[in-house]
């Protein structure tokens, strides 16, 4: 390849006066904006708030677990805390995180478009999200719920004394934001690609957003109807899940997990997309096996609908059903593994730079791999009988969600921070935060694998004294992790005012978003770009080495 990334796109490089940040300074211009970039920032502020609320709940959970009898003294409080933590982190942080912030900001830019297909719908989704979040927070704080984020019947329908219906209403409302966002992304990717941007020239991030959007559109409605039935059962005692009149409590679990398993892929797929953008940039090398990664994303989205039964191995379904779901769960691990190998293949013989985004991406690869492999252990029926409902499962999904997804989110935030804000963050602090996060994370969650293996149950405010040492380790690690999350809050905020001004392409990356100014003008591109070659058009490794030594 003899052309540089900048040559691959022919646009007029005339800088427009001002950017989307300065285009209107009133509160009204922000709250009534239809600019996808501003909406992304509205969302970023909101999910940051939710992240810290969920984080405080996690801190209190870990605080409770430093002594075997439970430091907070009350099982009720503990139950409400882990439920708050789960509900907020799942629906108000992890599910929206990358799609509504980085996705909203970057999808039109990466498509070479001026906005999404339905900009007013986009703004409406933010208001739905805030309304749903406010209602759920109110339910969680005015008394809370003790059912866990999974709301299993009959506890949630008959015996729980918490504000189940209110929380269900809040989550229901925010679900519409998810569906509408998914519709917007899918339609935009189909209909608004710039001239020359064929499907196989799109960056992997767009393919990931597309896959996530399929899940958002098709799985979230199942959650909506499930929450409706749950609320109806609780309010009117209708009994569709009540065995006393012939209803089936397992029906709730089927309906709940039919959504919630794809939901965990909703949470992780955008992380794959982010990492797939970071690794080629900081290896100065084209993504290895582009089509494999693309079809792996699509396969993960499709197969994720077929595996929900693995959450129900000990619930009472038949062994034939369990075997079927176990096999399908092994199948879904394959495309994820393909991606990991392709990322490693990208780095091989590349010129690797260890900027903060790359540190987060490398942490992602390691931690996600551990999380993914331990998923295979719990997908094995015989092993799951012992590991289910223990801390092993808790550690498994936190390795993926926190070690994986949160790392990817922070990596993406740092990677695109110059583009979004027009400022560089302080690199040294960012690297320190990434390392502290990696260390704190492992300190917190690795002991939990051992605890689970030894038999410590999850969702229990007290435990047997022999588990105390590992619990103390884990809680100590949590305090390190908390520091690692507070650091970026501090230095990223600082960079908004004092950070170095960023050029259009500080990383030397490919991609249409880097061909426009940092921060971009409101219309994104002064002239619609024309794409003439594939993504990741980096020069071959040999020329890079000659250029950089």
């Amino acid at each position: 390849m003899s052309t540089t990334p900048a040559d691959s796109v022919r646009i007029s490089a005339r800088a427009a006066a001002g950017s989307y940040l300065t285009d209107g300074v009133t509160l009204r211009s922000w709250l009534l904006t239809t600019d996808h970039k501003r909406i992304a920032l509205l969302y970023l502020g909101s999910i940051t708030v939710f992240f810290f609320i969920g984080g405080v709940a996690a801190a209190l959970v870990r605080l409770n677990l430093v002594v075997p009898q439970g430091l907070l003294g009350s099982a009720e409080s503990y139950n409400r805390l882990f439920t708050l933590h789960g509900v907020i982190m799942v629906w108000f942080f992890l599910v929206p995180a990358v799609p509504v912030t980085l996705g909203n900001f970057l999808v039109p830019l990466m498509l070479g478009a001026r906005d999404l297909a339905f900009p007013r719908l986009n703004l409406f989704t933010w208001y739905l999200f805030i309304a749903g979040g406010a209602i759920t927070l109110w339910a969680l704080f005015v008394g809370g719920i003790d059912t866990g984020w999974t709301f299993y019947t009959p506890l949630s329908t008959m015996y729980s004394k918490g504000h189940v219906v209110m929380a269900a209403v809040g989550i229901f409302i925010s679900g519409f934001a998810s569906i509408a966002t998914g519709v917007n992304f899918i339609v935009s990717i189909h209909r608004l690609r710039a001239p020359g941007l064929s499907w196989y020239r799109m960056p992997v991030f767009l393919w990931s957003i597309y896959s996530v959007s399929v899940l958002l559109v098709l799985a979230t409605p199942v959650l909506a109807i499930t929450l409706l039935l749950l609320a109806a059962e609780r309010l009117f005692h209708i009994g569709v899940f009540d065995p006393a009149i012939g209803g089936d409590p397992l029906l709730f679990q089927h309906l709940f997990w039919f959504y919630s398993h794809p939901a965990v892929y909703i949470m992780i797929l955008p992380g794959f997309g982010v990492v797939s953008e970071i690794i080629p940039t900081f290896s100065s090398k084209s993504l290895f096996g582009y089509k494999f990664i693309v079809w792996a994303s699509i396969s993960i989205a499709v197969i994720s609908f077929f595996v929900w039964g693995h959450h129900m191995f000990v619930a009472g379904t038949s062994v034939y059903s369990a075997v079927l779901f176990s096999i399908l769960s092994y199948l879904v691990a394959v495309p994820s593994a393909i991606k990991v190998f392709n990322w490693l293949g990208t780095m091989h013989k590349g010129f690797i730079r260890f900027d903060a985004p790359m540190l987060y991406a490398l942490g992602f690869i390691g931690l996600f791999t551990i999380g993914g492999l331990t998923g295979l252990w719990v997908a094995a029926l015989a092993a799951d009988v012992h590991l289910t409902q223990t801390f092993f499962v808790v550690a498994h999904f936190h390795y993926i969600m926190v070690g994986g997804m949160v790392s990817a989110f922070f990596g993406g935030l740092h990677f695109w921070w110059p583009k979004i804000t027009g400022r560089m963050y302080p690199e040294m602090w960012a690297r320190i935060a990434a390392l502290v996060m990696f260390i704190g994370f492992n300190f917190t969650f690795f002991p939990q694998f051992i605890l689970g293996y030894l038999g410590m149950p999850r969702r229990s405010f007290s435990y047997l004294p022999e588990f105390q040492v590992l619990n103390v380790f884990s809680s100590a690690g949590a305090s390190i992790l908390a520091a690692a999350y507070l650091l970026p809050l501090a230095y990223l905020t600082w960079s908004l005012f004092h950070g170095e001004r960023a050029p259009a392409n500080p990383w030397g990356a490919t991609g249409l978003e880097w061909q426009t100014a940092s921060p971009p003008p409101t219309v994104n591109f002064v002239e619609t770009p024309v794409v003439t070659c594939g993504p990741y058009a980096y020069p071959p490794p040999e020329t890079v080495h000659q250029r950089n030594v």
Partner: protein, 216 residues
């Protein structure tokens, strides 16, 4: 034609935007299929575990109102499609007439279902949480489950229909103001797709509620 119609700044033409809006509505309807789908799964589970009782409940439904409503909604959908044909030709007056007829039939449907059928069912002690349910004995549980499905499904379908009626009112108002022509009538098409979907949901519910339980 399309060069004189305004369109969003991210679209290359008005007709491209119109086609995009149709695609967006269809994708939204795909999500609606997955919203009603679990209700069908609930029907399957409930009937599977309580076959005799479930069908016993099914026999208590009012077949004449149900069948009449099916006729009403199918006709409303076809009348609306006629309206779309009229506006394609630029005939705003007849389009408004067809949409109004659709609206009236929609109101007839709602009146029959919630004004006649539901009160009748409740009066016959068929509400699933009633203390003295009409059917007692070993089939009571299954029958209650049937009526849970019946009330939940028809309520949700009714909500969607009310939204559709709101959309029809909005359309008729806009058409009256002269917003639509043969060159631009995208909202008319998009609302029509939604209304036909509400029809499709009913066509699925009708046999599940009124026919399958009624064996000889």
């Amino acid at each position: 034609m399309s060069s004189t119609v305004a369109h969003g700044f991210q679209y290359e033409s008005a007709s491209y935007q119109a086609q995009t809006a149709i695609a967006g509505m269809w994708l939204f309807l795909a999500s609606e299929v997955m919203f009603f789908g679990p209700l069908i799964l609930t029907w399957i589970f409930s009937r599977h575990w309580n076959p005799v009782g479930f069908d016993a409940g099914g026999r208590e439904t009012d077949l004449s109102i149900g069948t009449l409503n099916t006729f009403v909604i199918v006709t409303s959908s076809c009348l609306y499609a006629l309206g779309v044909q009229f506006i394609r030709q630029g005939n705003v007056r007849w389009m408004i007439l067809c949409c109004s007829a659709t609206l009236v039939l929609g109101l007839v449907f709602l009146a029959l279902k919630f004004g006649v059928e539901w009160p009748e069912d409740i009066a016959h002690h068929l509400f699933p949480t009633a203390a003295h349910f009409k059917i007692t004995g070993s089939t009571e549980g299954g029958a209650r489950l049937f009526f849970i499905f019946y009330f939940v499904a028809t309520a949700l379908h009714g909500v969607h229909m009310v939204v559709g009626i709101g959309l029809l009112l909005w359309l008729i108002r806009r058409a009256g103001r002269g917003d639509f022509s043969s060159g631009y009538h995208t909202p008319v098409i998009v609302v029509g797709i939604y209304w036909s979907f509400v029809d499709v949901v009913w066509l699925t519910l009708y046999p599940l509620i009124y026919l399958i339980g009624r064996g000889p």
